[in-house]
């Protein structure tokens, strides 16, 4: 990728080149590119004057900094014990059914990645999930159909789940 170099440089200009700027830079790359590619990590290492191993070692510690490509929309279903009690399995089954993928996989068109994740902070409103940064709570299989249809149609759901 040719454009990765100026892109990483612009991020280093924005956040700085100190070690403490590493995570914000990696976080923004993942938010825009949906992956932390080897090329990007090598480039970040060069800009911040770190070894690529340091950058990879740091990135691989954090579950939200994926070094394998994810889809445009990353679905993270909460798998806490309370989520399990409130019907997480039905939610995951429905998602697998609609997207025709298993947990951990990405749809062939690169649009959705389905994951399970630890407690996302909505135990009072389970089952819950994040699609990218947006939380969805009190999920039912019917709601899943609707939410995914909206993402498939418009690219992004307009139906702002109310969070009280």
């Amino acid at each position: 990728m040719n454009q990765i170099q100026p892109y990483v440089r612009s991020l280093a200009d924005k956040y700085g080149r100190e070690r403490e700027c590493l995570l914000p830079i990696l976080q923004e790359i993942v938010a825009t590119e949906h992956v932390l590619s080897q090329d990007a990590m090598v480039e970040v290492a060069r800009e911040l004057n770190l070894s690529a191993a340091e950058v990879y070692g740091t990135a691989s510690f954090y579950s939200f900094l994926n070094t394998e490509p994810y889809g445009k929309y990353v679905i993270r279903v909460c798998k806490s014990i309370v989520a399990e009690m409130k019907g997480k399995k039905e939610i995951v089954d429905k998602l697998c059914d609609i997207l025709k993928i298993k947990v951990g996989e990405t749809t062939p068109n690169g649009k959705f990645t389905l994951l399970e994740t630890n407690d996302i902070g909505w135990s009072d409103q389970e089952p819950s999930m994040l699609i990218n940064e947006k939380p969805y709570t009190y999920l039912t299989p019917e709601k899943i159909v609707q939410i995914i249809a909206e993402y498939q149609a418009n690219g992004k759901s307009n139906n702002h789940q109310q969070i009280n």
Binding site: E18, L26, I81, V82, N118, G121, W122, S123, D124
Partner: protein, 389 residues
């Protein structure tokens, strides 16, 4: 056993007072620093994240450190399973938290502060940033020099541990440090740093507003003030509830249970499981069972094996892997209960696992590994049959 004071609802954390003009801060920065520290000490306020360290002492230690490069960090990496109270503060009354952070910065002499927000709460960033912009404007008008920056986590539970959090803020793997030195001596960039939980800062702000005398009317001698509880599981009243500390668990269950409560997990996966027979003798507070506020209720339809299995999977995934007792211990506990369930191991193997969890308690480097034994032993010992059959 301290007497129960029943169940008392309070409404101060989310109560009407929230000033976008930061009037409490304005008032506080005209006071003597030592006087504020003494107030926080006298209030008996203890950290609301779970560990319960006296807040006033923490501030006092940081203030006493030499040098003028110091930091204040708000730990908003709320990741304990079943906890979501900080979410409500961050969304509803962030001014109170920011004001508490600013008062802390004033008394310890810091000009830079951070909010370390968990990645799962990224959706709050626009609103929080707006409030920080407002704060900076108000601070300028007060001639008060403090910058507060937002830093994001990226999905690592262990970063809620204060030294792991600091490592993460420094751009590294979130691996906990050995303590001592404690962050009040050597924290962010090796400088004195106060790390407090979101709710703790709100409480500190509240003490500056209502005064020590009013504050200590809430709670019991060992557990001053009110506490936000994140209530979930088999309850018709899931949500955040503010209660005075020092209540009996039986009073709590009478209010929040579904008439069939079999067990309550107090303090999240890192906390303790209390079975029905002990509801009456368990006090929720620092004199009994302290908690960061996570209360998960389970009714008699639930398998405690599944509960424990879920917690162990969680720990096994979130262990940072840095120290052997925690990395290997979490794996072995999980594999161990699976093997017993499948009858590949005899029931007596549970005793070996209990010993292992005790070893983890003493030999692990940080609170994560040290606390696995809490849920493990309290579930295994109270529900042996469910583990075996």
């Amino acid at each position: 056993m301290a007497p129960s004071n029943g169940l008392k609802r309070v409404d101060v954390i989310f109560g009407a007072y929230a000033s976008t003009k930061y009037l409490i801060l304005q008032k506080s920065i005209r006071r003597e620093k030592q006087e504020i520290i003494q107030d926080i000490i006298d209030s008996g306020l203890r950290g609301r994240g779970g560990a319960g360290f006296p807040t006033g002492l923490k501030w006092k230690f940081a203030a006493a450190q030499p040098g003028n490069e110091k930091y204040v960090i708000c730990n908003a990496d709320e990741g304990e399973p079943g906890t979501f109270k900080d979410r409500e503060i961050l969304m509803k009354v962030p001014q109170k938290m920011i004001s508490g952070m600013a008062i802390c910065a004033y008394v310890i002499g810091a000009t830079k502060a951070f909010i370390y927000l968990r990645g799962e709460y990224q959706f709050m960033v626009p609103d929080l940033q707006k409030e920080l912009d407002n704060f900076h404007e108000q601070a300028r008008e007060m001639n008060f020099d403090l910058t507060i920056e937002l830093r994001m986590g990226s999905g690592a539970y262990v970063c809620g541990e204060e030294t792991a959090l600091i490592e993460s803020m420094e751009g590294k793997r979130g691996e906990p440090r050995n303590k001592p030195p404690f962050p009040v001596v050597e924290g962010f960039h090796g400088k004195p740093t106060v790390v407090n939980n979101v709710e703790t800062f709100v409480n500190a702000n509240m003490i500056c507003r209502i005064g020590v005398e009013e504050f200590i009317k809430l709670g019991t001698q060992d557990s001053r003030g009110s506490k936000l509880f994140s209530i979930s599981g088999d309850t018709p009243k899931a949500g955040v509830h503010e209660l005075e500390l020092g209540m009996k668990l039986s009073d709590f269950v009478a209010e929040f249970g579904d008439d069939d409560t079999k067990a309550v997990q107090v303090g999240g996966a890192a906390g303790f499981c209390v079975p029905r027979k002990k509801f009456d003798t368990t006090i929720i507070g620092f004199e009994g069972m302290p908690t960061g506020g996570s209360m998960m209720l389970f009714n008699s339809s639930r398998s405690m094996y599944h509960v424990l299995h879920n917690y162990l999977e969680f720990f096994e995934e979130e262990s940072c892997g840095q120290c052997t007792p925690c990395r290997v211990g979490c794996q072995q506990l999980l594999l161990g209960i699976e093997a017993i369930k499948k009858q590949e191991r005899p029931a007596s193997y549970l005793n070996q696992l209990l010993k292992l969890s005790e070893t983890m308690k003493i030999a692990s480097k940080c609170g994560l590994g040290q606390s696995v034994a809490n849920s493990f032993s309290s579930i295994v010992e109270n529900y042996v049959e469910e583990m075996i059959y």
